[in-house]
């Protein structure tokens, strides 16, 4: 049996002493200062030239509620379109076929390179370029009858979103271990089947958190569709203040609704993140 090694002198045993709690007095001071500022701002707004009665009156007005419903409908549909396009374009971008690759790169360049509001205006005014659209012999229609504000907003928002989503999807697919694709090939899968059954399901887990974030952005991007007469909440709020000149009050009404929606979506997105980002199946090593 070996004796424990003897230790040098001069180093006391501190194991019985507790670490005292710190009072971060600077932090408390800063917090107090911030609260004072916030209270002052709040009071200034309350005393300012805002007729709060208009805010409360219109907060649940029928056209406003209809507007927020239209906002959400468009956000969901445009995001769905954006995701579908994003997946397709990302697959094209990662294809060995140079034609597909260039088309995908071109699409991303074009729709990320121009402002969203410009794209919305172009879609809405498409009839200036193509008065009629259709398949010759089969079906024709006037472009203005087809390109309603709803469709123009959907196409503008969705196709624009697709360009951004495709980059997210591409990153997601590249993040899947290369060995997964090889294993899929080894059991005889072709590229598309491997993508569909093996790569994309795994990429989704990486991609869903940033897409949740994009969706929150989309909810607010729908406000741009107000200029092409899509009756979302900002458009409807504007119509009210065009009639009664209560600009700030109605903008506050619209702002409250956006805040409410985003406040609900943000914790949902965090939940999504926690569920999908890490912690799911990782190969043991």
């Amino acid at each position: 049996m070996r004796a424990a090694p003897t230790l040098a002198e001069g180093f006391p045993d501190l194991s019985q002493m507790q670490i005292a709690r710190e009072i971060h007095w600077r932090r408390w001071l800063a917090a107090a200062a911030i609260i004072v500022v916030l209270v002052a701002i709040g009071r200034a707004f309350a005393a300012g030239q805002i007729e709060w009665s208009y805010v409360s009156r219109f907060l649940t007005a029928k056209v406003i509620l209809q507007g927020i419903v239209n906002t959400m409908v468009m956000a969901v549909l445009a995001m769905a379109l954006g995701i579908v396009l994003g997946v397709v374009v990302a697959i094209m971008r990662l294809s060995p076929n140079p034609v597909l690759k260039s088309v995908a790169a071109g699409y991303t360049w074009l729709f990320r390179g121009t402002p969203l509001i410009l794209q919305l205006l172009l879609w809405f005014n498409l009839a200036l370029v193509f008065p009629t659209i259709g398949i010759p012999g089969l079906w024709t229609a006037r472009a203005v009858d087809v390109m309603t504000p709803f469709l123009a907003a959907l196409l503008g928002l969705g196709i624009n979103q697709g360009a951004y989503t495709s980059e997210v999807m591409r990153a997601g697919m590249l993040s899947v271990d290369a060995g997964q694709y090889e294993a899929a090939q080894a059991i005889g899968m072709g590229r598309l089947r491997a993508l569909r059954r093996i790569i994309l399901p795994q990429a989704m887990r990486v991609v869903i958190p940033p897409l949740g974030n994009e969706f929150i952005g989309m909810v607010k991007a729908t406000s741009l569709a107000s200029v092409i007469q899509y009756p979302e909440v900002l458009h409807n709020a504007e119509n009210i203040y065009y009639a009664n000149s209560r600009v700030i009050e109605l903008l506050i009404v619209a702002g409250c609704w956006y805040l409410l929606v985003v406040s609900i979506l943000t914790p949902l997105q965090m939940l999504l993140e926690r569920r999908f980002a890490r912690g799911t199946a990782r190969i043991n090593r």
Binding site: N125, A127, L128, P131, R142, A143, V144, V227, Q229, E238, N239, Y241, Y242, A243, N244, S245, V247, I248
Partner: protein, 274 residues
């Protein structure tokens, strides 16, 4: 001459003299500038000349002439139509002369000095079949949504379409007069409504493209908009405007833009019927 009548005569003379000596408010006089803001998408009232990109228009010319007589300079700025009234309220502008209609709903915090007759006017593409305003019942009619015209159209439709058993006019919103004309050209709407003061210009720009249908269907006035508490400035401007009408310079400016027919005999305050 009795002492009373002499006294009255002197008093009257003094009153007119002091009236004519109406001064600009102190800050404007001191600064030597008038801050004015316009929504420059409204030819021929205020717009950017497509060739030179300069700010031009009937309102611009009127304001410049007024400023000359007041010995001040103008600092121009531009804003969307819906921001005109807030600009006045926040004192970003001293007064508004920007093709804005005198309306009761706007008189809560402002007064209008009316200087031009106007009224909403139907117009269509030349090849459209509508001949009379009644032909527009049940059709799609568009106008700028931030103006008072949507309400006017609805009123007119109730009185002239629905009352006659015809289908109501379908109102289609547009962002501004250019957007509305675009929609007309694309066939999104059958007819459009604009202030009658804008149509000669539009027709001049694209000859033969548009055709006016019927008469302006409501009488109104364009007004110079002042804050309610700004009586001094309002009086000064009214005075000089009256002088411009009297000496013909007002008519000259109107004729330059083909709107001689829209002249008023004298400036009126808050005179629009509704």
């Amino acid at each position: 001459m009795t002492r009373l009548s002499l006294f009255l005569g002197v008093a009257a003379f003094a009153a007119t003299a002091s009236a004519q000596a109406a001064e600009l408010p102190a800050e404007i006089k001191q600064a030597g500038t008038l801050k004015l803001t316009v929504n420059s998408t409204y030819a021929p009232m205020e717009y950017r000349d497509p060739a030179t990109s300069e700010l031009v228009g009937l309102d611009i010319d009127l304001a410049n002439e007024l400023a000359r007589r007041l010995s001040v300079k103008i600092v121009w700025s531009e804003t969307p139509f819906a921001e005109l009234i807030p600009s006045l309220q926040t004192k970003r502008a001293d007064f508004i002369i920007s093709g804005i209609s005198d309306r009761a709903s706007r008189r809560e915090t402002a007064d209008f000095i009316d200087y031009l007759t106007t009224g909403p006017q139907f117009f269509v593409l030349n090849e459209h079949e509508a001949k009379a305003a009644a032909d527009l019942c049940g059709k799609k009619v568009g106008t700028t949504r931030s103006t008072s015209f949507p309400v006017e159209i609805e009123k007119w439709s109730k009185q002239n379409c629905e009352a006659a058993g015809k289908p109501a006019i379908q109102y289609v919103p547009g962002e501004n007069s250019i957007d509305v004309r675009n929609q007309l050209k694309q066939g999104r709407i059958d007819a459009a409504v604009q202030g009658s003061e804008t149509l000669p210009y539009a027709q001049g720009q694209e000859p033969g493209k548009y055709r006016v249908v019927g008469e302006p269907f409501a009488i109104g006035y364009q007004g110079i908009m002042f804050r309610k508490d700004d009586a001094v400035l309002r009086e000064v401007v009214t005075e000089h405007l009256a002088a411009m009408i009297a000496d013909g310079s007002y008519k000259k400016i109107l004729d330059k833009f083909g709107l001689g027919a829209n002249a008023v005999a004298r400036p009126m305050m808050n005179a629009a019927p509704q």
